[in-house]
Symmetry: C3
Subunit: 344 residues, 3 copies
């Protein structure tokens, strides 16, 4: 019997099943440095231990999206090795900052399965939890993927489709213990705009762009121990292209959004997300954001802002999004809906 | 009003103005590892905590040029976003080594402005200071750039041109507290040549070359949180090329100069520098040095050596420099004049 | 006299000579993060401090091959600058894990010289030892290289060819102090297969592939301070190609072998190795392994497994190896023979 991992197929997933994912990972200043080298990330809270301390944290955490990638990467061999498509995210929440020295691992519970009418594949819903070395939850999110069946004659399971929130309710956002933006230094943070300066409906073109290189997206994707073939092996697809890990586009767009949203410091919830079109090396990624909502939090000086982050590639119209048919324009790469914390 | 940073234009700079730059940055062993991965840097003092301790330092500092890049990178959004050209450096001094765990920030004082006769742009002189978490100065340097005017009808300011030293006087060099090369191990450092073995006027061809890749210069430039579009966005210039950050060439040339100058350990002053010609991916960078001067320091076993470091690209003649017209040969990329510390 | 390093030529090596190599190097979490970013390495013992502690170690060591590359890189300027070919490895043993904070240096003793019959070059055998800051040996190995003569008229030295073991005897394997796999968590480690599940003669196709980029192999090679021109300078070879450091292929193949050998955690011996064919950017590296032998160790729950690791490139037949003429197939890049430790 082959010793390599064949991955799970649709019929291998049962609602209620819990998968403990390999491999635990200890992060350090090395991961922090690499994150800054791979993305134009400049958020002061993640760049400076001093800035973090003034904000009530013990030191600068690892970027929230780096924590997400570490947690997500571990699920790939168990959840998406035989996936045909990554369909969506919901109910994502960051529950505790991750600091250098922390060791992360991931678990997923299967919360839904629904076979497709073609009988060849089905949709699997998992709720993934990232835990640190104290078994404290650092984040959780729901993801659903379309997975092939191994045996087309396997009977369809009873369909279970979870009832997922369209948006994380602001009262469910977890503000890190101690976070306090009362003494926030806007000059050091890079921009003067505070929570009160953003209006729902406002759109921001982040202006800057980055042309993607093969070496960079592979380095990034491996850093999170996501080893899916399609990102690394130019002989895998017929067109000889390496598909870029969607998370690379998420981090690139989020980092680009610093220019106009420098004070949207911490990501606390992922309401939803779609990888609208594939991204390949040579594409030039730009980003724009739309303010979708605002909310207060109990923490001193801390407001919450709900943002749509859209990544586009070369050729995109200004604020390119969906066409009249409701479909994404072909130059749209990513549509992400998240909550961030910002000084009031 | 757009929330993105439009940058400052010529008429926004006033002599005496002090700009506190975003974003503070904590460095760690991660930045050290990346510096070694991006450049063929082998100076023992920066590579080994043990070697540094024998030399009287608490541990290996972050490379002097890495400290420079961190300090410099922060100034880009405030000083050179609308710059047409980076014209020069002077009076640069490293004042204190930077160690893993230190948090750096930058401030610049405008010390000169002079509108060009065409009325479309002007030259701005700033003295930039890098500070650590204790507000101790770690370095300072003067830079002048040509910046566009926003409003061509804005009146020309009174011209102020600072009187800058052509060379940092050796008696103004700051030798790090405790530095002692009395027990210097030349074998472990990689070369036997000591301060006394170098003669003023001597030229050294550093022999080795590195062909530059897009991914590498972008990773390096982002690592210092320098996010100038022209380095990252292949759609920005009409020729589709990404201009390589001048600091990447500085670090590459300095690292190449290990072969022949392995014992020129610490950089303590930047007397001047010119980015003679642009560098692009695919160029093969080589370097040569000329000994310009030597001086004693009060520190045990420590001498100072003033070096011209010239980076060239493919096609350069041996020791390529300037033509009879006083202009740099087209294959010359960099002309840097600095003081380093070397065991006597 | 030129101050750059001309390297040693064949006639410069004398049996019994000991060379202390420059430059000592302190490793940190930065090197660990970069190793994970450059290779699809997922071994739990090297990824997680917690997993390492449960296995009886103080924290996760730096990958064994990273330690090898650091030790090896230092020898290049002294041993292989004028080498025509890297001929082989033998009697390699890892003697002590390397942890973040350790400072490594290398020494080599010349243990054999034999001039070639053409009188133009000769074979030099060195036994290289890596030492940490306490002068404890962390590893040792024998390497032999063909080196050019400087002076063709120099007389041939008395030939000394060391008698090298074909395989490190299992009783000479050094199991790290405290290592204990009694509480090994196979689920967290990523695979269920234990020592008892592998049979001598069994072959494993590791399935995954990685297409190599110039930026990546240069970043990796510099990380180990291996600055041999041929890896970096596209103008050096007539065909404009940069030869990829053989160690990059070793690490890539070993990391790919996680898929099927996730529990072959620690490398403890290098029995032999051949860089069968050169590797260049654009090649897609895959790997397969063969179980050559198994042995018990005295340590609780710890078995030893001897593996042949073969790296191939695009176009290779399944389990490509040698032809009937005993020569490697042209698509074979690497043939490595090593001992690893695995939970029983």
């Amino acid at each position: 019997m082959a010793k390599t991992n064949p991955g799970r197929f649709f019929e291998d997933y049962k609602v209620g099943q819990v998968i403990r994912h390999a491999v635990p990972r200890t992060v350090s200043g090395g991961e922090r440095a690499m994150y800054h080298a791979l993305y134009p990330a400049r958020s002061a809270l993640y760049s400076s231990d001093e800035f973090a301390r003034v904000s009530g944290l013990p030191s600068a955490p690892i970027d929230d999206l780096a924590a997400f990638h570490v947690v997500f990467g571990k699920t790939v061999p168990d959840v998406s090795l035989n996936a045909v498509a990554n369909l969506g995210y919901a109910e994502g929440r960051w529950l505790r900052p991750v600091y250098p020295g922390d060791t992360l691992r991931s678990e997923s519970e299967v919360i839904g399965v629904k076979e497709n009418s073609n009988g060849k594949s089905g949709v699997v819903y998992v709720r993934t939890t990232g835990l640190n070395q104290y078994d404290h939850k650092v984040m959780e999110y729901v993801r659903w993927v379309m997975v092939r069946k191994r045996d087309l004659s396997a009977p369809a399971p009873e369909a279970v489709v979870p009832n997922l929130a369209k948006v994380v309710d602001p009262k469910d956002l977890v503000v890190p213990t101690g976070l306090d933006f009362s003494n926030y230094d806007f000059e050091l943070a890079g921009e003067a705009h505070r929570w009160g300066d953003y209006e729902v409906g406002e759109k921001i073109d982040h202006v800057d762009g980055v042309t993607i290189e093969e070496a960079e997206h592979m380095i990034a994707t491996r850093l999170w121990q996501n080893t899916a073939k399609v990102h690394f092996d130019a002989t895998f697809r017929e067109d000889g292209k390496r598909l870029i890990y969607g998370g690379h586009v998420i981090s690139m767009a989020r980092a680009l959004s610093f220019n106009g949203l420098a004070n949207a410091q911490m990501i606390v919830a992922l309401n939803g997300g779609a990888h609208a079109n594939p991204c390949f090396a040579g594409d030039t990624v730009k980003a724009w954001s739309e303010v979708l909502d605002k909310a207060e939090t109990g923490a001193p000086g801390v407001g919450a802002i709900r943002l749509r982050l859209v990544a586009t590639k070369q050729g995109a119209a200004p604020f390119a999004y969906k066409g009249e048919d409701g479909k994404y324009a072909p130059e749209v790469l990513l549509d992400l809906d998240y909550w961030a914390l910002m000084p009031i």
